[in-house]
Symmetry: C2
Subunit: 337 residues, 2 copies
DNA sequence: TCCCATGACCAAAACGTTTTGGTCTATCGT
DNA sequence: ACGATAGACCAAAACGTTTTGGTCATGGGA
């Protein structure tokens, strides 16, 4: 009836050693005879022993728990419009899976403002997605001496090298080359008004690509709220130029659909009269009419990589960082005339 | 330098009582003089005391942590296609926020298979989203005696009354009435092939509505993978009927866009020749061309309600359940001829 | 031979709570 | 006036680890 918990004492008894030795053997801490260690590990396995997270946390101060911080808009209303929820969901689930495999649960963390809030969470470290320039949340962690891995860099923190990122330059180049191959001669960009590395680097890569081709960059910066509507407008401005672009690289997913609508309203057909591609993949771009070519950043890979990186740090290893996660170009009808 | 933690002992000293009394006063457990309780609470406040989660967990066996279980598809590939990621993201974030406010962190939990995995998580309870019929994950929690709140009921568990749900019958009726008001006389439904309560109840409500109007129900069941493509096909079948429907209630978000495409391919214009509405709201329906009328289930409210319900149970209250969360009908161009 | 590392091991303390099992005083019913 | 009951309080045990500060051989260098 009474399913008593298997404690370290039970393991010690089974292996015929002290609890100290069990602890050392299992955590690779002190010095224990290899044979003894084997015996302890076997005994622990037989009994199905798992150290109590609470006891461990109490004594050592480490909980093993990881905080996941998604981009925190100021208002919830803004969130609705702004986030590529699709992308972050994939990211979060993948990170949770990878962390859990390594016995580190992942906390979904609401926007944090103060050190007290962070302290109360009782986490050992955090994954911070798309930090703004000199993101205050990063500072919060540092204040408590907790390790952080960011997904994409913090542009205001060049010294912080613990991050996972997409190869935004290469991805952008590849996409733009694809557009050129498909016949585009005047490629414009719908960039985002943000201080995220992803956004800044993508825009910069676009400009570099233009320069390398002796082409003049055509950039419209688009707002972060009311994504589709903003893109409809700024995309429309691009299309109304005397020298109309024949391809548009719309950074966000909703930008792309906004541009397609603007084109359609002007009697332009995608991809016949205009090629459209997006810098991020989602159900929206996959299922749009026509389906839209995108850079799939593989959020599953990014999330898993970030979790791995953080866990390795937590466990005392010195993993190589930063990590660059390759993306996949998803070529769809919107760029195939 | 040494920022020593404020412990219960410090509070006891400050209030001039024993640690037992502090514990009792703060947790409302034993019997303490109201004046003393005040004094203790004041002292704790002054010192900024927060009970150590680890210590509490160790002694009492309760961690205060909540597990969040999203619908677990068998393969990750299926997930990509199937989930309304948007909706679940909102749900999860809202639940995390509401739980955190009440000092209960929320764990994002990967698909669980065994009791051992669940035990290792060390949670006090769980929120289970969209359980399938007799969902095995619900059983996992029960096996450990942990409370669960589901979002939408488990159709195979009528006795389990701890759930939060949308008023699917009323929502569906309201939406269908709106279609009728907009001039529809033959409303068809694109239902989903699933054993979720949301899906089953919505379909049933549709049939009931038809019956109450003496109208024959027209239902096409659509697959859960390749949502948009499946809906394009089954929606097309509806449109190719000799007696073509003049409105389609497409349950899932991607069903609606699929139907719109099928209509467009047949030279039908939405909303002129066909009204289209969806049972779930998302960025996709908001930004579609034309924007699609939907039932916004208000996942923020559902998530927060579920978290509240579970937390109240965890804290020993006997909250009223089940909870019905009202939805909002989002009327958009797709149903305004 | 003696001394000093070093390796293998262990008993006990410590982490910060909650819970158990009390003591003591005041009040109530008879 | 007496025992019983309830209220207010407390000391100590308990939760299951990790860490501290050892002991005791064993072997190598002087």
């Amino acid at each position: 009836m009474s399913e008593r918990r298997v404690t370290i004492r039970d393991v010690a008894a089974a292996a015929g050693v002290s609890v100290t030795t069990v602890s050392h053997a299992l955590n690779g801490k002190g010095s224990v005879d290899p044979a003894t260690r084997e015996r302890v590990i076997a005994a622990a396995g037989d009994l199905g022993y798992r150290a109590s997270r609470a006891a461990r946390a109490l004594r050592s101060g480490r909980t093993g728990v990881i905080a996941m911080l998604l981009p925190a808009p100021d208002t919830l209303d803004a969130e609705r419009e702004m986030l590529s929820l699709d992308y972050y969901m994939q990211l979060a689930m993948a990170a949770a899976g990878a962390a859990f495999e390594r016995h580190h649960p992942l906390l979904l963390t609401p926007p944090l403002k103060t050190v007290a809030e962070l302290r109360e969470l009782g986490v050992d470290g955090g994954i911070l997605c798309d930090p703004g320039r000199a993101d205050p949340r990063l500072a919060l962690f540092e204040e408590l001496g907790l390790p952080v891995v960011t997904i994409e860099r913090d542009l205001g923190r060049p010294e912080h090298r613990w991050y996972v990122r997409g190869d935004n330059e290469a991805n952008t180049h590849e996409l733009l080359d694809h557009l050129a191959d498909a016949g585009a001669t005047r490629v414009a960009m719908l960039a985002a008004e943000s201080d995220w590395a992803w956004s800044a680097e993508s825009e910069q890569a676009y400009r570099a690509w233009c320069a390398s081709r002796g082409q003049e960059p055509i950039v419209e910066v688009t707002g972060l709220h009311q994504l589709e509507a903003s893109a409809y407008e700024s995309g429309g401005r691009l299309l109304d130029r005397p020298q109309r672009p024949d391809a548009i690289f719309a950074l966000a997913e909703s930008y792309a659909t906004g541009v397609v609508r603007a084109a359609r309203d002007r009697g332009l057909e995608v991809p016949r009269d205009l090629l459209v591609a997006s810098g991020i993949d989602s159900q929206q771009t996959r299922e749009a009419t026509p389906p839209i070519t995108t850079i799939d950043l593989l959020p599953q890979d990014q999330g898993a990589a970030a979790a791995r990186l953080l866990v390795e740090r937590l466990e005392g290893a010195e993993p190589a960082a930063p990590v660059v996660v390759p993306a996949a170009l998803r070529i769809r009808a919107s760029t195939q005339p």
